[in-house]
């Protein structure tokens, strides 16, 4: 491993979210950057969502920097048109979101929790895993799942997402095993997804599903 690496944001993968509304270029994973979270979101055409509408309820502070094109940000109660080299700061809990106003808009997202050592969040691994899976690369997808489970072995979200992954690839026994673990860790967290998550469709007809979730 060399002491430095050069690349372009155009060299990064462009991975669609499960619902097809978002496109992520996973910069942090690509270079193995460890101090905090850093990724690039892509709006391929005007009107595309480039930053999901959300808040960060667990204390993550974020900064967005427009790298290419123009985006319209909603931040708190404000709406602002943001061309290249605009900085949008989102303290924890602040509502934020953005849509692209130009073709090929790119927004850098930087985030971490103040006062805590950074540990990559499992959402990144599972976002990437499901995108690889949709693209037909099960091996790369499984590697990302295993990475997430190894990093956060006690997180219910990891077990739940692993259940979804195994259900999608047809490993039903493994899927039930992960689902059981997720429910044991946080039944309240899992329950809202049980009836509606399409990833679990192949499990619902199995008697074990009713047994676990009833």
């Amino acid at each position: 491993m060399s002491g430095y690496e050069i690349l372009s944001i155009d060299d990064l993968d462009q991975l669609e979210s499960s619902d097809g509304t978002m496109v992520l270029s996973p910069l942090r994973r690509r270079i193995g950057f460890r101090p905090f979270g850093v990724n690039v979101w892509v709006g391929r055409k005007p009107g595309d969502r480039v930053i999901e509408e959300h808040r960060e309820p667990y204390g993550t502070e974020e900064l967005y920097v427009v790298l290419r094109g123009t985006a319209r940000f909603a931040i708190g109660d404000e709406e602002v048109e943001a061309p290249v080299a605009t900085f949008v700061h989102a303290p924890p809990g602040t509502f934020r979101g953005a849509v692209a106003l130009e073709d090929d808009t790119r927004v850098l997202a930087v985030g971490a929790k103040a006062g805590e050592a950074f540990s990559p969040s499992g959402w990144e691994d599972f976002y990437v895993a499901f995108a690889y899976l949709r693209n037909g690369d099960e091996q790369a997808a499984r590697a990302a799942v295993e990475e997430a489970l190894a990093r956060e072995p006690d997180a219910w979200q990891g077990s739940f997402n692993a259940a979804c992954f195994e259900a999608r690839v047809g490993n039903i026994d493994a899927a039930f095993e992960h689902l059981r673990t997720a429910l044991e860790r946080n039944r309240e967290g899992v329950e809202p997804y049980l009836a509606t998550d399409p990833d679990l469709a192949s499990l619902r007809g199995d008697p074990r599903f009713a047994e676990l979730t009833g």
Binding site: M1, S2, G3, Y4, E5, I6, L7, S8, I9, D10, I31, G32, F33, R34, P35, F36, V38, T60, E61, L63, V65, L67, R68, F73, I75, G76, E78, V80, A82, P83, V84, A85, T86, F87, V88, H89, A90, P91, T94, R106, L108, V110, G111, A112, K113, A114, G115, E116, A117, F118
Partner: protein, 209 residues
């Protein structure tokens, strides 16, 4: 303040030609290190030549606008908008000059495995305009504020002593210089020839190299 165009950030020119645009300080970001840089003119430094041996930071330099020539560990690379260099090894010397007059580099950095701490050098940079105007009270205030977060920063103590010596606070300057040398003896070598200390060099207790 939640949104800023690049032009709305402060622009603080440093002695060797690069201009610091303090992004982290502007928003008071506490979770990570982020700043932007431009150059005084094409051919001038946009990123000062340095390593991260002291802070042990991993760094990303991302070109936001214009073209920039980086030198990383002796290798030269000219990068344009959307290109970046990730410097994994803190010991590598890195620096850059602007090729285009309007070039902007975004710099991101932090130490893996530890909560982010604001780097002491930020206060030293932030005090440059006040020092340039010989507004020593303001320059001292900025240093003292940063010292609360970094009481053991020898460089910060040394710089504070410089400001105090220039501002006529001889006793404070001497005490802070002694603290600095106690933490890192190399500052006694610097003090021996630093013109900031001309007024107090003959005082008893002035550190000897």
């Amino acid at each position: 303040m939640t949104v800023a165009r690049f032009e709305e950030l402060d622009a603080i020119e440093m002695p060797d030609g690069f201009v610091w645009h303090p992004v982290r300080r502007h928003f008071d970001i506490r979770a990570f290190g982020v700043n932007a840089y431009t150059a005084r003119e094409p051919g001038a430094h946009i990123i000062e030549e340095h390593s991260e041996k002291t802070l042990q930071h991993e760094e990303i330099y991302l070109v936001l606008r214009g073209r920039v020539r980086f030198t990383i560990g002796g290798d030269e690379h000219e990068l344009g908008p959307g290109q970046l260099v990730f410097v994994r090894d803190p010991a590598l010397t890195r620096g850059a000059v602007a090729v285009d007059a309007d070039a902007i580099v975004l710099a991101l950095g932090g130490k893996p495995g530890e909560p982010h701490q604001v780097s002491p050098w930020e206060a030293m940079f932030a005090a440059v305009p006040a020092a340039r105007e010989e507004n020593w009270d303001e320059a001292i205030r900025i240093h003292v504020e940063a010292l609360r977060e970094h009481p053991d920063s020898a460089a910060l103590l040394y710089n504070l002593a410089c400001m105090e010596a220039r501002g006529g606070r001889a006793l404070d300057a001497l005490l802070h210089l002694q603290d600095s040398v106690r933490l890192d003896p190399k500052f006694a070598d610097y003090a021996a020839t630093d013109s900031d200390f001309a007024a107090i060099r003959s005082e008893p207790g002035f550190p000897e190299p």
